[in-house]
């Protein structure tokens, strides 16, 4: 499969668009992570943001108090997140379906007051990540610290890097035995167990793969925002946006979350900029339309937008009869 390098946008000072790109890639990456547990293993996880937060805070703490380089901190964040995930998830895998889903919500609800009051992470007053002044762009790539202008571009590429890594990893998993086990658990848990698949183990593995990805995402986010606040990293949108991206694009499809993120985020940004501003500001009109768009997509294409016959359309566009496309 061709590795894609989306053409970067050399915006002359319009760094905002790079940030939008960054957010798209970040959410796409998170969406792929969520897809592992939600799409492949078929378990609803409504509280993945706790791992996002754990990642962000761990990396921030390692960086601030121990002076670790950002990339090392990222590794540390992932390790901690996976460990916590395994510990928390294994007991809960006794629950099935919606019960499991509420358990993940429960974890998220428990995380909130911890985040707000735990003094180690400074509670609701947040942790600020100091940025050394000066330093070149390359230095920035190495330490995730960008003073000044290079920031938007730098983070765009970094998110692209992590996103690509995640995508490749996910693709590898999808085609591996692991992926097969996940799907077995999703489609027929009892049947899977009958042939000797330990469904609990694989649920844990799936969730912890997601936790790793979310932790990496959280770390990247923390260094981008330069501050980690509990209500920001545990925010409900980090729960639902990756999920929505996956569902919009097509649950369980590798590229599903990517398509979903590409569609959802620019739309909401565009709406906010146009309808959420000016004389209509404060009336939430942009969100009304956003909600309506979501409902339309959901009602029209409940299996996700990837289920549209893209290949056939492309073939017709090129003047060829709608033949079965070769798997690319």
């Amino acid at each position: 499969m061709a590795l894609l390098f989306p053409i970067p946008f050399e915006r002359s000072g319009q760094i905002y668009y790079e940030t939008v790109g960054f957010l798209v890639l970040l959410n796409a990456m998170l969406g792929i992570g969520w897809n592992i547990i939600g799409g492949w293993a078929g378990q609803f996880d409504f509280g993945p943001s706790i791992f996002f937060a754990i990642g962000a805070y761990t990396a921030a703490l390692l960086s601030i108090h121990l002076g670790w380089n950002a990339w090392l901190a990222l590794v540390g964040a992932v390790v901690v997140s996976v460990a916590l995930c395994a510990a928390l998830t294994y007991p809960v895998t006794r629950l099935r379906g919606h019960y499991f889903a509420i358990a993940t919500v429960a974890m998220w609800m428990i995380a909130q007051p911890i985040g707000a009051t735990w003094q180690l992470i400074n509670g609701s007053q947040g942790l600020f990540i100091p940025v050394a002044a000066g330093g070149t762009f390359v230095h920035g790539l190495l330490t995730l610290e960008f003073p000044g202008r290079g920031k938007g571009l730098g983070f765009y590429y970094l998110s692209l890097l992590l996103f690509s890594a995640t995508l490749l990893g996910a693709r590898a998993i999808e085609r591996s035995k692991l992926g097969f086990y996940f799907r077995a658990v999703r489609d027929d848990q009892d049947g899977a167990e009958a042939i000797g698949i330990d469904s609990r183990l694989y649920k844990v593995i799936a969730r912890c793969l997601m936790a790793a990805i979310f932790a990496a995402g959280g770390t990247l986010y923390g260094f981008w925002a330069l501050a980690v606040f509990p209500d920001q990293v545990l925010e409900v949108n980090w729960n639902i946006l990756p999920m929505m991206a996956a569902v919009v694009g097509g649950l369980g499809r590798l590229w599903g979350p990517v398509l979903g993120a590409i569609i959802l985020i620019p739309i909401s940004q565009l709406m906010t900029a146009t309808l959420g501003a000016g004389p209509l500001a404060g009336r939430g009109i942009d969100l009304i339309i956003y909600g309506a768009v979501i409902m339309l997509i959901a009602g029209w294409r409940p299996n996700g937008l990837l289920s549209l016959p893209w290949a056939e359309w492309a073939a017709r566009l090129r003047g060829r009869p709608a033949a079965r496309p070769a798997k690319g």
Partner: protein, 290 residues
């Protein structure tokens, strides 16, 4: 000791109010297994309905409860027919997605019309009773909350009888358990789902009307109750109406008692912690059927 007993009493009272909010969800989600992110928004619409009718027509919420319930029943059926029925053709997860859209749509629709200011139902039967207590053995029981709680119990009883004791209710359960089999015996699933949505929405709107007597009315009001409602339905067990009631009481008590002795910021956390704990021993909730 009085602190504990009072907390227990307070918790039971709040539990009944939570039950009121959760009962609608118990039907849509607990019974028919359709995820509804926008549940709290329907409650909020009920609150605004009560406030609006109180301000413009001077109707007491206990009176406006009826027309609002009827209206919202229709609304729920409409949501099902227009949106959820189509969504059902796809993945289960798409229901989340669709109802998230509904959530944004409704909440901001209300913001657009009413802005985010807080509003209060000022003159009503129940607010007139505010502060009135009866004292039972040294414990204070607030009368307005008690009335609200009794209404909740009444609704639960009606619902329980409807679902568990009538043919119609059995048909709904059948559809939830096995849609194809239900069709084979002549039940029309679409109709069951539509009714479920209608009932669920109407019930939670009633909850909103009652709650409007005690709480500020504003577009974001749904959230804090909704999250608890989800925990309650799951804790009670899917498919069990009585389970939801019991779970609501448990939640109310846990919340109240932990707030009395432990850091109050964690009281919801303890509720959810209890859910996980109980879930470890009873994975299908207290009385869950599936």
């Amino acid at each position: 000791m009085t602190l504990f007993l009072q907390a227990l009493a307070d918790g039971l009272q709040m539990g009944l109010l939570y039950a009121l909010v959760a009962v609608g969800l118990a039907i849509i989600w607990g019974l028919m297994e359709m995820i509804n992110f926008a549940h709290g928004e329907f409650m909020m619409l009920g609150m605004f309905g009560a406030w609006g009718l109180s301000v413009w027509l001077g109707w007491d919420p206990l009176v406006s409860m009826v027309p609002i319930a009827v209206l919202m029943y229709g609304g729920g059926v409409l949501v099902y027919r227009l949106l959820m029925r189509r969504v059902q053709r796809g993945e289960v997860f798409t229901q989340i997605f669709a109802t998230v859209g509904l959530f944004f749509f409704i909440q901001n629709g209300v913001v657009a019309v009413f802005t985010s200011d807080y509003r209060f139902v000022e003159k009503s039967f129940l607010t007139g009773l505010s502060g009135a207590n009866i004292t039972l053995g040294g414990l204070r029981i607030g009368i307005p909350l008690l009335v609200g709680g009794l209404i909740a119990l009444a609704l639960f009883l009606i619902l329980y009888l409807l679902i568990d004791r009538t043919d119609f209710g059995l048909a709904m359960q059948a559809t939830a358990e096995d849609r194809d089999a239900a069709m084979l015996v002549g039940i029309r699933p679409q109709r069951m789902y539509a009714v479920a949505w209608g009932l669920g929405t109407a019930l939670v709107a009633i909850a909103g009307v009652i709650l409007a007597n005690f709480f500020s009315v504003y577009p974001q009001a749904g959230l804090s109750f909704t999250v608890l409602a989800y925990a309650i339905v799951a804790l009670g067990g899917f498919g069990s109406i009585l389970g939801t009631l019991l779970a609501a009481l448990v939640v109310g008590v846990v919340q109240s008692v932990t707030a009395a002795y432990l850091p109050p910021a964690f009281k919801d956390a303890f509720v959810f912690g209890s859910y996980i704990l109980i879930g470890l021993f009873r994975p299908q909730g207290l009385f869950g059927r599936f």
